[in-house]
């Protein structure tokens, strides 16, 4: 994006920002069918640590997730305050390495890129979760630095970590990511939401990322419910002021997660 516009957006908007990083699993297993009509092709393939039956048709877990993320954006754009307060960055993990899909920016400014890139996500490859979390934390750090340099107020960032399996990237990277999120969360410099998708998500591993709140398992494929709740929380936060204690409406969680 144009540097000048980016700088202008940063400086001329006085609204305290809520930086949110979505760290999303797009490994091969996210391509599994979770609904819709399917036809077996009879082929079998090995991906992401397992054997899979190849089918035609149906709706994949990733497609459900994409729907949820787009809903999240749409809800925020409809809210007058959240629209100028929330800033989202999207990091995915699949293939062999994490990828920065969208960097932090004003939501309006991100809109056309978001429409192209989120829907074009594809499930493939491994689950380098540690690497992705580190990349996400780096992005958050950079953005925080930019806020400070410009004299822009911000809330402590949120990190949403979604996975349907267990990490199979570098162990060192995974441990580094875990210790970084723990330190940040314990010092109240990060709010982390680890979310397990489906029955095979490694909830023990997710728990290690979050010293204060246990990870949540998404009930069925209710991404919509989660992102509805998340956008409502962002809206509420954006109407408070930095320094206010943020009370997350955890009542809302019961509908969509197995606590």
């Amino acid at each position: 994006m144009n540097d000048l516009l980016r700088k202008q957006d940063l400086e001329s908007n006085p609204t305290p920002r809520v930086p949110i990083c979505l760290c999303l699993d797009v490994s091969g297993s996210m391509g599994r069918i979770v609904g819709g009509n399917v036809q077996n092709t009879g082929r079998r393939e090995y991906h992401d640590g397992k054997w899979w039956n190849i089918v035609e048709g149906g709706i994949t877990a990733l497609q459900e997730m994409i729907g949820g993320v787009n809903l999240f954006y749409d809800n925020l754009l409809e809210d007058d305050v959240a629209r100028y307060s929330a800033e989202i960055c999207v990091v995915t993990f699949g293939g062999n390495s994490p990828e920065l899909i969208l960097d932090f920016a004003n939501l309006d400014r991100q809109e056309s890129e978001r429409q192209q890139k989120i829907s074009a996500l594809e499930a493939h490859g491994e689950t380098p979760l540690g690497e992705a979390v580190n990349m996400a934390l780096d992005c958050l750090d950079t953005r925080k630095r930019e806020f400070k340099d410009a004299g822009v107020d911000y809330f402590q960032p949120w990190l949403v970590l979604m996975t349907d399996g267990e990490p199979n990237g570098s162990t060192a990277e995974l441990n580094r990511a875990i210790s970084r999120t723990n330190e940040l969360a314990n010092n109240r410099r990060l709010t982390i939401f680890p979310i397990g998708i489906g029955e095979e998500a490694d909830m023990n591993c997710l728990a290690k990322f979050s010293p204060k709140r246990p990870p949540l398992r998404l009930k069925g494929m209710n991404f919509k419910g989660f992102f509805e709740w998340l956008s409502a929380s962002v809206s509420r936060t954006s109407q408070s002021m930095p320094g206010d204690k943020i009370k997350l409406d955890l009542d809302g969680l019961k509908g969509w997660a197995d606590l």
């Binding site: 007058d80 340099d149 107020d153 320094g243």
Partner: protein, 791 residues
């Protein structure tokens, strides 16, 4: 007869000198930009009055230290790039004035190390003997000096001291003019004039009543409820819910213009009921303040809520405080409107304060705006009356003394902080006063009183980036001063008890509104009417011009050939031919120096000029250097690196001959190498450049010097006549430098040498036009020779 300001100042200066017995000057005043003007003004008076100025030796030593150590100046005072220059000038001035018997230097063997202490120490000794004029720029020192000259119980008959600072045009200003007496005392609310039936009492204790009231049915849409006040009742119908929150819901009613707030069952407490009873016992009636007007009971006569006037509009948080929404909802607003909005809001808050109602939780979401003159205050049931507190608040609007504490009884002083914050955020739409660059976070900044906006000379340089500094600049001085003194930790109004109230602010903002409406503000600067001005406010006695490139307005003197500094540094971006990195072809190069683009970036250029290897020449035995640039050149051509020096390489190589005769003849001894080139003196040819770089405060290994030395040793020395030229400069340059240093025009000369010669020379070298560089340098030496009549 009206006197012009200069006459008044000149008379004041004369009086200062006449009325004192001894005059002292502090280091920091010597380092003022206007010090020169000051002496121009004071010397004739001193001569007439036959008085001298006393300078402690410690001050001279401090100035000397700054004058002789440019590096130290930069390190200790990075904020003052001119320090070294000013110190040199100050030392020179002292020398001249000492010779003229205008300055006397004093020292005792027991003088302490620091100049500041010296003054206080001397003043203590002489305070019974002499009236003193003390000139300093240092607030703290001024204050301490005044204290010494106060009568105390033990010491009587102390003489007078007048402490002044040097101001803009080289005159003096009395420090005590800056003192509190200039500040109008914050206005206390005028509750005495309010009839008792409108006025709440003061309370010292928090009312604490526990327990809920029984309620069997919470009324909903369509149902009837009863409004009750002073024994009168009225049946009204809840038509539809218009809003809901944590405490309950607000309903439109069939009583036109009035709405009912119905609490959730768990919020129907005895405390709330008692508070509302108290609120209803007084006649609070202010347009736009949606104060409780009657209790609401359900059909079983149980308390469930209260009746109030209907509000409308957009809350400040979702309109004025967001520039994009401000533009959307109030597209035609300008500064007249935001100032009018402040006046409207202040009048309502003043109405409440006069009646001892404290709003408590002032925040942008409970003030609704229809227009600059139509505003609604909602959530009034949380206001603090007597011992019923307002239990909530936003940290951003919370005074430093209440931060990180549980809210109890608030004072007017506490509340005035919130009011000031609100006003600031209307005038800088949405930007909190304590947002700053590199801040620790708003709450920490509030607690520490870290306010970053400037007032006159007082500034921190940490104002948030973006348009905010311009919003600030265009306010009236009085308003800036009041904000500054309230928010800055050492400000006159910073403490709870001193914070100005709504009456004070109302006067400032009403006056501001008048100036905006009658055109006084725009007569000085047409941007003063904008909510978001695009530049700083024009100063009255300066001439402004527009930058040729960006069209923005600047003080004329700051433009170079009509181009502003930002544009000079900016320019066209392109890639380095060598590393692909970004190079900027600055507008300075393009329009001022009219230079061509560099092909490679500075880093690459430096790299190509660093020495890769030193070798001895196979033929003549002299050491020669191969730079990275040369290495690349040979590598690219697939050639091995040369084994002979550049001079020998240019000589024709003897063609190999086959000797037919046996080599029985004794060979003559190998000739010793011809006289080697005089080893380059470090400062020889570059003497002048060195002087210029020193003057500019550049290190000895700066880019300019390294490049020119490299040029001298690796190119010029190898050219025909090169050595001679170097030798000639070596003899003449020291003379030039000496004259240069003593010259009256040295500032402009150094600048001229830099811009007209050294920079162009570097440029020529960068482009590989070594001959041009040589010519340009020769021209410079010639110019300086003629200038100083050196043969």
């Amino acid at each position: 007869m009206v006197k012009n300001p200069n006459e008044i100042q000149s008379e004041f200066l004369e009086r200062c000198v006449r009325d004192c017995d001894r005059i002292f000057i502090d280091t920091c005043s010597f380092l003022e930009e206007t010090m020169y003007d000051f002496f121009q003004n004071i010397v004739p008076i001193l001569e007439r009055e036959q008085k001298t100025v006393i300078v402690p030796l410690a001050v001279c030593q401090e100035l000397e230290r700054f004058a002789n150590n440019p590096a130290e100046c930069r390190k200790e005072h990075p904020d003052n790039p001119n320090l070294n220059k000013l110190a040199i000038h100050a030392c020179e001035t002292i020398n001249v004035l000492k010779r003229a018997n205008i300055v006397q230097i004093f020292a005792d063997p027991d003088d302490k190390k620091f100049a500041d202490n010296i003054f206080l120490y001397v003043f203590l000794k002489i305070r019974l003997k002499y009236n003193v004029l003390f000139i300093t720029q240092d607030n703290g020192l001024a204050h301490d000096a005044c204290d010494i000259f106060k009568d105390s119980r033990s010491v009587k008959g102390v003489k007078k001291i007048l402490v002044c600072k040097i101001v803009k045009n080289g005159y003096l200003k009395n420090f005590s003019d800056d003192k509190p007496k200039k500040f109008p005392q914050p206005v206390k609310p005028s509750s005495e004039n309010i009839p008792p039936n409108e006025r709440f009492a003061f309370a010292n204790e928090v009312v604490d009543i526990e327990g809920n009231l029984p309620v069997t049915k919470i009324p909903v849409e369509g149902e009837y409820v009863t409004a009750v006040r002073n024994g009168q009742t009225k049946q009204i119908r809840l038509i539809e819910e218009v809003g809901s929150g944590g405490e309950g819901s607000v309903y439109k009613t069939d009583f036109d213009g009035y709405v009912a707030k119905i609490y959730k069952p768990e919020k129907i407490t005895r405390l709330r009921h008692e508070k509302l009873k108290l609120m209803l016992s007084k006649d609070i009636n202010c347009e736009g303040v949606c104060f409780p007007l009657a209790m609401i009971h359900n059909q079983r006569n149980e308390f469930v809520g209260y009746l109030m006037r209907a509000a409308s509009g957009k809350d400040l948080g979702k309109s004025v405080f967001m520039p994009m929404l401000l533009k959307k909802y109030f597209p035609k607003w300008n500064r007249v409107d935001t100032v009018q909005l402040c006046v409207t809001i202040l009048k309502k808050i003043k109405y409440l304060h006069d009646r001892n109602v404290i709003l408590g939780d002032i925040n942008p979401y409970n003030i609704l705006v229809v227009s600059p003159t139509e505003v609604y205050f909602v959530d009034t049931d949380s206001y603090q009356v007597e011992g019923f507190i307002c239990p909530v608040g936003m940290p951003l609007f919370t005074a430093p003394e209440l931060q990180k504490k549980k809210y109890g009884l608030r004072t007017l002083g506490n509340e005035n902080f919130a009011v000031t914050t609100l006003l600031f955020m209307i005038m800088h739409p949405g930007k909190p006063p304590y947002a700053m660059q590199d801040g620790e976070g708003i709450v920490e900044n509030i607690i520490k009183g870290e306010f970053s906006y400037p007032l006159g000379e007082r500034k921190t340089g940490k104002v948030p980036q973006g348009p905010w500094r311009f919003c600030w600049s265009h306010l009236t001085y009085k308003i800036k001063e009041a904000f500054y003194e309230t928010f800055w930790r050492d400000g006159m109004y910073h403490d709870e008890k001193n914070r100005p109230g709504t009456g004070f602010w109302l006067r400032l903002f009403e006056y501001y509104l008048k100036l905006l409406k009658n055109g006084t503000m725009t007569a000085n600067d047409e941007e003063s009417i904008l909510i978001f001005p695009t530049r700083f406010k024009r100063e009255k006695d300066k001439i402004y011009a527009k930058c040729k490139l960006c069209g923005k307005e600047f003080v004329e003197d700051s433009l170079e050939q009509g181009i502003c500094r930002a544009c000079l540094h900016d320019g066209e971006k392109y890639q380095c031919e060598r590393c692909g990195g970004e190079i900027i072809y600055t507008n300075y190069q393009k329009y001022i120096k009219r230079a061509k683009r560099y092909k490679i970036c500075r880093a690459c250029f430096e790299r190509t000029n660093t020495i890769f290897e030193r070798r001895s020449c196979k033929d003549c035995g002299r050491t020669f250097e191969i730079t990275y640039g040369q290495k690349e050149f040979f590598d690219a051509k697939g050639m091995s690196l040369p084994t002979r020096c550049e001079v020998c390489r240019k000589k024709p190589r003897p063609s190999p001959t086959v000797r037919h005769t046996p080599t029985t003849v004794t060979m003559p001894p190998r000739p010793t190498p011809s006289q080697p080139v005089e080893p380059p003196k470090k400062n020889g040819w570059c003497f002048i450049t060195t002087a210029v770089c020193e003057y500019l405060g550049k290190p000895d290994d700066c880019f300019e010097l390294t490049t020119l030395r490299n040029f001298r040793d690796n190119w010029l020395a190898l050219q025909t006549g090169g050595k001679e030229e170097i030798r000639e400069y070596y003899e003449i340059a020291p003379k030039i430098v000496e004259k240069l240093a003593a010259s009256d025009e040295k500032d402009s000369l150094y600048e001229k040498i830099r811009l007209d010669y050294i920079e162009p020379c570097l440029e020529e070298i960068l482009h590989g036009h070594n001959e041009n560089c040589r010519a340009r340098y020769r021209e410079m030496v010639l110019m300086l020779k003629q200038k100083f009549s050196i043969d």
